[in-house]
């Protein structure tokens, strides 16, 4: 029985009409009518300004929007069909949209866009988030120019962010990626990034699309895979990262996408991190001060409360996952008063590694293991916020480096447990 294609007949027909292109800009969406119009107009302006001679297309993979998102994306097209407008372009610019099944899932959206880019023989592809309302036309140039001019395979963004933005990245993804895989980039889990057609085609051929990492956390998986596969990486400073004031941050979802993906990668790339990985270069162009220091409003007490509460309530679950010593340490930590609370870097590294081992052995359901990490991360976040509250950008960088060193020190333990020697 033939495999079902990710590209519908109608979409293939649209791709046929687009034909060979130089640039694809992919936009995965789901009910993003509030912001996507502004984003694609900025993308279009960027293409017209910086790549007026290149053949380009905007491709939207939508997860089932009902708010007119797709129409907003298609409105960005420039062709001789539309009535005369004040936009002057040398060439036709297609902007097409398709709805994929089993959505919304960013991984499936990415799969669709990669497949389309491959069919269109795109030389370069940029992915942008439909929520990036701070996106400016220059971002397109900064993402794609390294691919075109410098022959880079993967261009990751660098944003100007608040120093406490991306805590999960700083405390989990960044140290693990650096220590286990040898690469340190500011945004290992990007939402706006670019890659070469060659990298896209090779990534498309990976056998991940029927697995969890083909649905969630795919961007992180791609970054890891590209770094391990010795593709040429680069970072490009874009500007301020869009912050949505009203969107609740789904920590459980974020944990699934980060910890889940990382832990799965340990199985797939066991031989890489067992050895001492080489440092993967990722030069940064135009990187200004990427951290803004305006004061933030954060409820640290709530983090502490949820940590202690979580440790208490999830005790039987932690018993299945952690070693006795780590489990006892966490219980002791949960009983300490707030003013003396300190979830040290070492303990955190150990916690993460033991969770990784539990995930590898699947001592309980893997998704449950990932969920169980959430209250512990809150505790770690509390300590991180406390330690860096008054810190300057440089001081915070040093603290993060200290965290990475803790992960490095605990690595032998991880290796022993993984190989069953402990």
């Amino acid at each position: 029985m033939p495999e079902e294609s990710i590209l519908s007949d109608g979409f293939v027909r649209e791709l046929m009409n687009v034909g060979e292109v130089d640039i694809v800009v992919g936009v995965p969406t789901y009910n993003d009518a509030r912001s996507v119009g502004q984003v694609v107009q900025a993308v279009r302006a960027g293409l017209l300004k910086y790549f007026p001679r290149e053949r380009s297309v905007i491709i939207n993979a939508d997860g089932g929007s009902r708010d007119g998102t797709q129409d907003l994306v298609c409105a960005a097209a420039i062709s001789d069909l539309s009535a005369t407008s004040d936009v002057h372009a040398l060439r036709t610019l297609h902007s097409i949209s398709t709805q994929y099944e089993n959505g919304p899932a960013n991984g499936i959206a990415m799969h669709t866009i990669l497949a389309a880019s491959d069919l269109l023989q795109a030389r370069a592809c940029a992915m942008v988030s439909p929520e990036s309302t701070t996106l400016e036309p220059e971002w397109i140039e900064r993402l794609l120019r390294p691919v075109f001019r410098d022959g880079k395979d993967l261009v990751l963004p660098v944003y100007r962010r608040h120093k406490f933005d991306g805590l999960l990245i700083r405390n989990l993804v960044f140290p693990m990626a650096k220590v286990l895989y040898g690469f340190s980039v500011r945004e290992p889990y990007p939402t706006d990034f670019a890659f070469s057609g060659e990298l896209g085609s090779q990534f498309l051929a990976q056998d991940i699309w029927n697995q969890e990492q083909g649905r969630r956390g795919t961007e992180l998986w791609m970054t890891l895979w590209a770094a391990i596969g010795k593709f040429r990486l680069a970072q490009s400073f874009l500007g301020p990262k869009t912050r949505r004031e009203d969107a609740p941050s789904d920590l459980v979802g974020a944990m699934r996408e980060t910890a889940g993906t990382l832990f799965t990668s340990l199985d797939a790339y066991s031989s890489i991190w067992h050895s001492q990985p080489e440092l993967v270069p990722a030069p940064c162009s135009g990187c200004e001060a990427a951290i803004s220091l305006e004061p933030s409003r954060l409820n640290r007490k709530r983090l502490y409360d949820m940590f202690t509460f979580g440790v208490k309530e999830l005790d039987p679950v932690f018993l299945s996952i952690l070693t006795t010593s780590t489990h006892d340490e966490l219980r002791t930590l949960a009983e300490s008063p707030e003013e003396r609370f300190a979830y040290s870097a070492e303990l955190w590294a150990r916690t993460v590694y033991e969770f990784a081992i539990a995930y590898h052995k699947a001592v309980i359901g893997r998704d449950h293991i990932v969920q169980a990490m959430v209250p512990l991360f809150r505790g770690r976040a509390y300590t991180f916020l406390s330690d860096n509250r008054e810190a300057s950008a440089e001081e915070m960088e040093r603290n993060i480096e200290g965290l990475c060193q803790a992960f490095e020190r605990e690595k032998p333990r991880l290796l022993e447990m993984w190989d069953g020697r402990r």
């Binding site: 027909r13 649209e14 009409n17 034909g19 060979e20 001789d80 372009a89 040398l90």
Partner: protein, 545 residues
């Protein structure tokens, strides 16, 4: 010539030729009228119905004949007036009409009128030209020959005043505010019309009149002059045609048709560079957009379409971005660039790619308008940018592989211009004689193309309706006249393309391909799928049986 059909120019196939470049019968190294007359059979066989002669009047030849010093005679190098009359007679016998140049805007500074005018400020002909004490009048008027002229005013040391010139400084502009100028020009036109000339190409029409505070182009007074000229021509010489040379945007060009009481035809200048642009971009957008902006013209009027001519491929009527693109794609060598244009012939512009040459000629013959073929392009002649100015596209016609390419018996050093010699475009590689031998030569193909075009009045006189298939690399349109409908589909891309055409309103028609006359599937409810090879085009006649 007695004319049955006053709209003959709508069905015409025009061939632009320079007498000097075509065929030398006298052996002095220059083409002449006797030589041209000898080659009329060739032109008749090609299928040409009208010959447009570049200026053959007496001239110091500092602008290849567009600097005229005597309007009522023939440059002795090309022959005599009797030679011209004989040529005209021979052309008419073969059913070929003749267009000559009327350079109304300016004369050579060697013309007796100017010599008189400059001789003193009181001379009766002083006012035949535009004089000024200062060179600050008519500020804001653009300079056309940017590469050579710094100003539209030139200082005359004789009469110690400035005179106005929109082109070279040795081409002073005539002053049409003086009615005598107009009357004299009319008499000149009458002179040639009485001889039998069928049509006049009025050179540099937009610049006839100047007014302070304007850009001195397309002024209402210019249109009055044209109207008057047309009225007199229609009255005294019905069936003759006026062709405007006005390098303007379509909306400005429209004015030159008036209400059917000015020019019969005008060159569609803005379309031409966009055809080349569309080919490089592999995108029909430049063509469809300029044609969308092209206004409707009066019933008896017609656009003139061309790919190349004796001038540079003008890029005046494009944006700066488009010009940069054209320069980068078509004139990488800066020596090819001149006066906001590109001085190259058709074949070199298209990389001598036969498929591209065929496609462009296919577009020329199927878009709405009368096509003009520049001499030599029907065999794919090359150019020589080293000859300076625009002489590189005006090299001798290549007839065969023999002495001087069969152009002239003279010594090669005596030729008015060197021949093309390189292995790709040289006369031994590209010439009429060798291409006549083969059915698959460019010349043979052009003959077939012209034959099909002439057999299809719809292509000359019909309306146009663009189809906008989703594949932007394919340009498709319907041409309709009465009961006949033609579908033209053109692949602008270097790669094979599929295209689905919405032909629902023509459901039930069978497509008949017009060159091979094979039938294609009948049009049904579904989009009509066609696949085209690189640069391929189809012409279909729709038949309902």
């Amino acid at each position: 010539m007695a004319t049955q059909d006053s709209l003959w120019y709508k069905d015409a196939i025009i061939y632009q030729v320079h007498v000097r470049a075509f065929y030398d019968s006298s052996g002095d190294g220059n083409g002449d009228f006797r030589g041209l007359a000898q080659k009329l059979d060739y032109l008749q066989e090609l299928g040409v119905t009208v010959i447009w002669l570049m200026p053959f009047f007496p001239s110091p030849l500092r602008d290849d004949g567009y600097d005229i010093s005597d309007y009522r005679s023939v440059n002795p190098t090309y022959g005599t007036l009797d030679d011209f009359k004989a040529f005209l007679e021979a052309a008419h016998q073969r059913g070929i009409r003749v267009i000559i140049e009327m350079v109304m805007n300016h004369t050579s500074d060697q013309h007796p009128w100017f010599q008189e005018s400059r001789s003193s400020r009181n001379n009766p002909k002083r006012d035949w030209y535009v004089w000024s004490d200062s060179d600050t009048r008519y500020k804001g008027t653009r300079i056309i020959f940017l590469d050579t002229e710094l100003s539209n005013w030139a200082w005359d040391p004789v009469s110690k005043q400035y005179y106005w010139h929109r082109f070279f400084s040795h081409q002073p502009d005539l002053n049409y505010d003086n009615p005598q100028v107009f009357e004299e020009m009319w008499q000149i036109m009458k002179f040639w019309a009485e001889m039998g000339v069928d049509a006049f190409r009025l050179d540099a029409v937009p610049y006839l009149v100047e007014r302070e505070g304007t850009n001195c182009e397309n002024l209402p007074e210019t249109h009055h002059i044209i109207k008057e000229l047309r009225a007199r021509l229609d009255k005294e010489f019905p069936g003759r045609m006026l062709l405007a040379e006005a390098n303007q945007w379509p909306t400005d060009l429209r004015a030159y048709f008036g209400n059917g009481d000015e020019f019969h035809m005008a060159f569609h200048f803005p379309l031409m560079p966009r055809m080349f642009m569309a080919l490089k971009l592999e995108d029909r957008k430049p063509i469809t957009e300029i044609l969308k902006q092209t206004p409707e013209i009066p019933e008896g009027c017609q656009w003139c379409l061309f790919l190349r001519n004796h001038d540079e491929l003008t890029l005046e009527m494009v944006t700066d971005m488009e010009r940069d693109y054209m320069y980068d794609e078509y004139a990488k060598d800066k020596a090819m660039r001149l006066n906001l244009g590109i001085r190259r012939r058709l074949a070199p512009l298209l990389d001598n790619d036969r498929r591209k040459i065929e496609l462009m000629n296919g577009l020329l013959m199927s878009l709405p308008g009368t096509p003009i073929i520049y001499y030599g392009d029907e065999i794919g002649m090359g150019d020589n940018v080293n000859l300076g100015d625009r002489h590189g596209v005006r090299t001798p016609m290549q007839w065969d592989g023999s002495w001087n390419g069969g152009f002239s018996p003279a010594d090669p050093e005596a030729l008015y211009s060197p021949l093309m010699l390189n292995p790709v475009y040289g006369f031994q590689a590209i010439n009429v004689q060798s291409q006549k031998r083969f059915d698959h030569s460019l010349l043979s193909w052009m003959k077939r193309l012209i034959r099909v075009r002439k057999a299809t009045p719809t292509l000359g006189r019909g309306s146009i309706q663009f189809l906008y298939p989703a594949n932007h690399r394919v340009l498709a349109y319907m041409r309709k006249l009465g009961n006949e409908t033609i579908l033209a589909v053109n692949n602008l891309s270097s790669k094979a393309q599929p295209v689905e055409l919405d032909l629902k309103q023509y459901k039930g028609n069978i497509l008949v391909e017009m060159f091979g006359r094979n039938i294609f599937p009948r049009i049904g409810d579904l989009p009509y799928l066609l696949t085209l090879g690189p640069y391929e085009f189809y012409w279909f006649r729709l038949r309902r049986i």
